[in-house]
Symmetry: C2
Subunit: 370 residues, 2 copies
């Protein structure tokens, strides 16, 4: 299945993308080493785990929608195989998503989203506040209107990461708990020595630009703040579906877990800081309570921030960077969503086959000489 020259693969970066690629490549017969001092930490550990290409569609980003939708189609099979390979749950939640609005400006934003999706031939269903409360009874009285997007799903990111690790180990992936400082064709420079291989795959996130000069300027950190909540015996149960809003213009998402809820928002702050501010937490709680008032009774378990690797056009970077150097990074808020398709594309590229058509706009060659 693979040619003799490319059987030995070293991946640098063990988030959801690195783990997914490692598992799938090992299952295809490659020798795989995954280099990360702390796999399954970083942005993937903090993530909300939304699989929501449709609710996040934006005019001008049709290629991103197609890529996300193609990966989402693969998620049910990916999850089933992951569950079998890891002998445990994958974390996939196949309930859908509601996008809701609390004021007229928010409602206009929803109308614009519905119109845009309609123009692409993707119908979503408008819902009245009454219909919405029929679907999710714990929605608050401030919620005035919404869209039902049954195909946008979610995954418990920590359950999925744990399953990916077990599946990767079972498939024979070797975990190398070291820091990589640089990659070049056939080699990964570690702190004090060099690991040799046939092909390097850069699956690091926000630190990817440090690994290879061609990535400089192509990946920047975008902070996402997250609260993790746990239900209490006296509190209302979490919703079945992901609830997203603009709340007075601020984007927020509430992603259910079996025992609670993950609440998140993107903070357009630059830099590598992951501190969570008092004001950020105040706004997250305030906006979330507008949508689900009952969560005041929930336990606040964790407040955290992750750094998503964003690219200038919001599309990831999936493809050959150099002879013997593949890249799969820049997945921004969509690492979990795009993981199945990315792993498939990397497998195809390593076998010298064409990757799925939806990943072609993600070829890093688009930035050649930027």
């Amino acid at each position: 299945m693979t040619n003799g020259q490319q059987r030995d693969v070293a991946l640098v970066g063990g988030g959801v993308i690195g783990l997914s690629c490692a598992w799938r490549l090992a299952a295809q017969g490659f020798r795989v080493r995954l280099i990360d001092p702390a796999p399954a930490s970083g942005a993937s550990h903090v993530a909300g785990g939304m699989l929501a290409p449709v609710a996040e569609a934006w005019p001008g980003e049709e290629a991103l929608l197609e890529l996300g939708a193609a990966s989402l189609r693969r998620w049910p099979d990916f999850a089933a195989e992951l569950s079998a390979a890891s002998a445990g749950p994958s974390g996939l939640n196949e309930h859908g998503t509601l996008v809701v609005a609390v004021d007229n400006a928010d409602r206009e934003q929803l109308d614009a989203l519905a119109e845009h999706l309609d123009s692409l031939g993707r119908k979503v269903t408008g819902r009245t506040s009454r219909e919405l409360r029929g679907i999710e009874p714990t929605l608050g009285p401030s919620v005035r209107a919404g869209l039902e997007v049954p195909g946008d799903l979610s995954v418990d990111n920590r359950t999925a990461l744990a399953a990916l690790r077990r599946a990767a180990e079972a498939a024979g992936v070797e975990f190398v708990a070291r820091s990589a400082s640089r990659v070049r064709p056939g080699a990964v420079e570690l702190d004090e020595d060099v690991l040799h291989c046939d092909v390097v795959v850069v699956t690091a996130g926000v630190r990817a630009p440090e690994l290879h000069p061609d990535l400089a300027g192509l990946v920047r950190p975008v902070k996402g703040e997250i609260l993790r909540l746990r239900t209490r015996p006296t509190a209302l149960p979490p919703p079945a579906r992901t609830i997203r809003g603009p709340v007075h213009g601020r984007q927020i998402y509430l992603v259910p877990r079996t025992d609670g809820l993950v609440i998140g928002a993107t903070q357009y702050e630059s830099g590598f800081g992951t501190e969570v501010t008092v004001g950020g937490v105040r706004d997250l709680i305030g906006d979330a309570e507008r949508l689900l008032p009952g969560i005041g009774e929930y336990e606040l378990v964790e407040a955290n921030a992750g750094l998503r690797p964003a690219t200038p056009d919001n599309l990831p970077l999936i493809g050959w960077l150099d002879t013997g150097v593949l890249v799969a990074t820049g997945h921004h808020r969509n690492g979990f969503l795009q993981a199945p398709l990315t792993a498939e594309a990397v497998g195809e590229l390593l076998c010298e086959r064409r990757p799925p058509a939806e990943t072609e706009p993600a070829d890093p060659a688009r930035w050649k000489g930027h």
Copy 2:
């Protein structure tokens, strides 16, 4: 200094009271063993560290005020000795306290406090909003009036606990990292064996009633929720003084640290749960921002809850419980404040001398046969 029969002391419980007693007793020449599976954790680790008997004075609780004031007078010397004995900072902050009000009902509460203190011969100074902002420039515009209580201080609880551990170790205290299940004259029952000594001192907090039948019903847990904030380079500095409010009737305190602020409030919940609720955090942040609006820019480092050991009359229990069994617990919100006086009283009792007069109302004999 001590008689032959009482030289060997075992303390059960290594919070601020247990550590303070252990250090002082060892320094007086006793053999001291401190039994706690995790010293310096629990409520003492979570505490705000206010040393504020005056700002918390309440009609009918004059004995509590006298006890607190007597212990506060000992704090500067206690801190200096602690610093010397531990070769490090004690954490004492000798800036005072402002009690502020944001609405008319809050102001009436302050007037009542000032009147009550005046009737006891303790003068506090009323301040206008303008004067208050002259003293602490980062106070918010909602603050309408206040009282200056320069004598009410604070201590960085974690710095003090670390110093107490070092001082206790240096004085020869033996730390026994075990769980005690029961105490009786001359013996502490551990999980699988028994530790023998001359005198047992129960310095456990909310679990004290499990150790001795006479404590049943005398100590109950009262939850206190705490947020720990850290300044950021772009944010305003923390105030020098403790800022306390009623904010629309809700009590809140903001206790400065060198690098930030501890914000707390008492939740009148029963039970042994230490989870922090979303609604609790929302209210703490909202009320704190009314007093110090600049803290929205601070980093939220920790949200936590502690269980204070409260007694029916809010006075601690300091005295002989039984032949060979002393008790020093029930310090409620005042463990750090009352630690110096409590340690002194325990030392006097062990030497068969009268403890300081202010601790006499704390004699557990007052509940005999309750």
